[in-house]
């Protein structure tokens, strides 16, 4: 029998708001409140709130915390300043991706990493086992006690500004600061998964509901709304942000996924380094590309990418993109056919439908750089 679905501290608020709840990575989460397209537009034009408390957070502290993270992750953690955030991946020795994550440097010898909800148990086992040799690094899984609310959209800064006890305008992209939001101690991070300016608020699970309500209340004049996982997916897809389990997993490597920029082999040894370097030198066999469909049929995960009757790849994510008003997709395509401008097809219900490889992101990013 399946384990019962887990619930975030905001579960009751979602039910009261009439959200449609679905199972996601072992959690019972809101997929939409009013409608995916409407919620998507709210984030692009105003501000939206996402309950992403299902995501996992681990803290690692001690004199060897940095060394442990350098061994586990592909990016160069030593380049991180205190109050800075870094996107990175955990890899297997063969270069397959265990998870993608963000690394927060809380202090010289203290870090937090944020991992995908569906991977919390797997990642916990992986990081603690792989860093067993680093006795000066102590791991703590704080997922259950930590809530995470993403506040995203062009009006996010003004909204957080009204509720925070500090100036948030000075927090740069992929930087964070401590402050009180709605009276609650919060790690205020200028990060997100939408391509809009915005923040992710890490706070004690016990205070999540009061902050959620305060954000809805103070944001009413901005047109704030709660946003479900459905729009979270269309927003991130338009930005070409990878979704673990769809676009990246243990069978894909960072080079073919277009994540070579988070692999810093010059930093020294790390798990997966040799395998990834081999791919980098030889060139990846396939590449993750953006596809724009000629018509509105949706190219979904697993659909074949074809040309002249041959299969050249596979779709990993696809949807109608509300801001680009087109059917768009991400797909792994044989490198020989992966150039921007190439005309291919996606087989949808036994029929090849025209698709063109396009530049990504599909929609311009408006994050604060």
């Amino acid at each position: 029998m399946d384990a019962p679905l887990k619930r975030t501290p905001l579960f009751e608020a979602h039910i009261a708001a009439g959200a449609r709840m679905v199972p996601f990575g072992g959690w019972e989460m809101p997929v939409q409140y009013t409608g995916i397209v409407e919620e998507h537009r709210t984030v692009r034009s105003a501000v939206g709130l996402f309950d992403v408390s299902h995501m996992g957070e681990f803290e690692v502290t001690g004199p060897e915390a940095l060394a442990a993270l350098q061994m586990l992750t592909t990016n160069d953690v030593s380049a991180l300043e205190i109050s800075q955030v870094q996107y990175s991946v955990l890899c297997l020795p063969d270069g397959g991706i265990v998870d993608d994550l963000t690394v927060y440097r809380l202090a010289a010898d203290r870090f937090m990493v944020t991992v995908n909800a569906a991977n919390i148990d797997k990642d916990w086992t992986w990081v603690t086992e792989q860093s067993r040799g680093f006795r000066g690094a102590t791991w703590r899984n704080v997922s259950a006690s930590t809530a995470l609310i993403a506040v995203q959209g062009p009006k996010a800064e003004a909204l957080i500004g009204r509720l925070a006890d500090r100036d948030v305008t000075a927090i740069g992209y992929y930087r964070f600061a401590s402050g009180r939001v709605g009276g609650v101690d919060t790690l205020i991070s200028r990060t997100g998964y939408t391509g809009e300016d915005g923040f992710e608020l890490y706070l004690p699970a016990t205070n999540a509901l009061s902050v959620w309500r305060a954000l809805l209340d103070k944001g009413a004049s901005d047109g704030v709304a709660a946003i479900g996982l459905g729009a979270r997916d269309t927003l991130r897809l338009e930005m070409r942000y990878a979704l673990y389990g769809n676009d990246i997993d243990e069978t894909t490597n960072p080079i073919e996924a277009g994540l070579g920029w988070v692999v810093k082999s010059a930093k020294g040894d790390f798990v997966g380094r040799d395998a990834i370097e081999k791919v980098r030198v030889a060139g990846p066999r396939r590449k993750l590309v953006g596809l724009e469909m000629a018509d509105r049929a949706v190219a979904r995960h697993g659909y074949p990418v074809v040309k002249d009757g041959h299969t050249l790849g596979v779709v990993t994510s696809g949807s109608y993109g509300p801001s680009v008003d087109k059917s768009i997709a991400l797909a792994y395509v044989d490198s020989a056919h992966a150039a921007v401008g190439n005309d291919l097809g996606v087989e949808i219900r036994s029929q090849a439908r025209p698709a063109r490889i396009v530049k990504t992101p599909f929609h311009p990013s408006r994050v604060k750089k």
Binding site: V31, Q32, G35, I36, V37, E38, G230, T234, D295, R296, A297, V298, R300, S319, Y320, S327, R349
Partner: protein, 132 residues
């Protein structure tokens, strides 16, 4: 008990299509309940005029952001009209499922099909039982 979302003058299938008699012809679409369950409709694939459809068999698909669903013919017959407006504005299915969001007009080949369909009352009962 009349339900504004289940018009009394239509007939229904358990797959949530509606059928409306217009003389010899039958207009077909999906119900308010169906469009609400699907969420934002982004693509509708319909058969060409002249295609034969068969009751209880699929005649096309409707895609929402999250899912793709088959469409089932309420009656057998020949397609005499398909709603071309849905190519550019599939959201009409959400906005006006019983009006501008119609899908096909079928010339029925068997009068008996109609009587097999659920009445509004039966369909309401079916929804009330929580069937999907």
């Amino acid at each position: 008990m009349a339900n504004a979302n289940v018009p009394a003058d239509l007939r229904y299938t358990k797959e949530h299509e509606w059928a409306k008699r217009e003389g010899e012809r039958v207009r077909v679409g999906i119900t308010h309940f169906a469009q609400e369950q699907l969420g934002d409709v982004v693509f509708v694939e319909l058969p060409k005029v002249g295609t034969k459809v068969t009751s209880h068999k699929t005649f096309g698909v409707v895609e929402s952001v999250k899912a793709v669903s088959d469409l089932y013919a309420p009656i057998s017959g020949e397609v005499v009209e398909a709603n071309a407006a849905l190519v550019k504005t599939p959201e009409l299915v959400n906005r006006d499922p019983y009006g501008q969001g119609w899908m096909l007009v079928v010339k029925a080949s068997s009068a008996g099909d109609w009587d097999q369909l659920l009445t509004a009352q039966q369909y309401e009962q079916f929804l009330a039982e929580g069937a999907h």
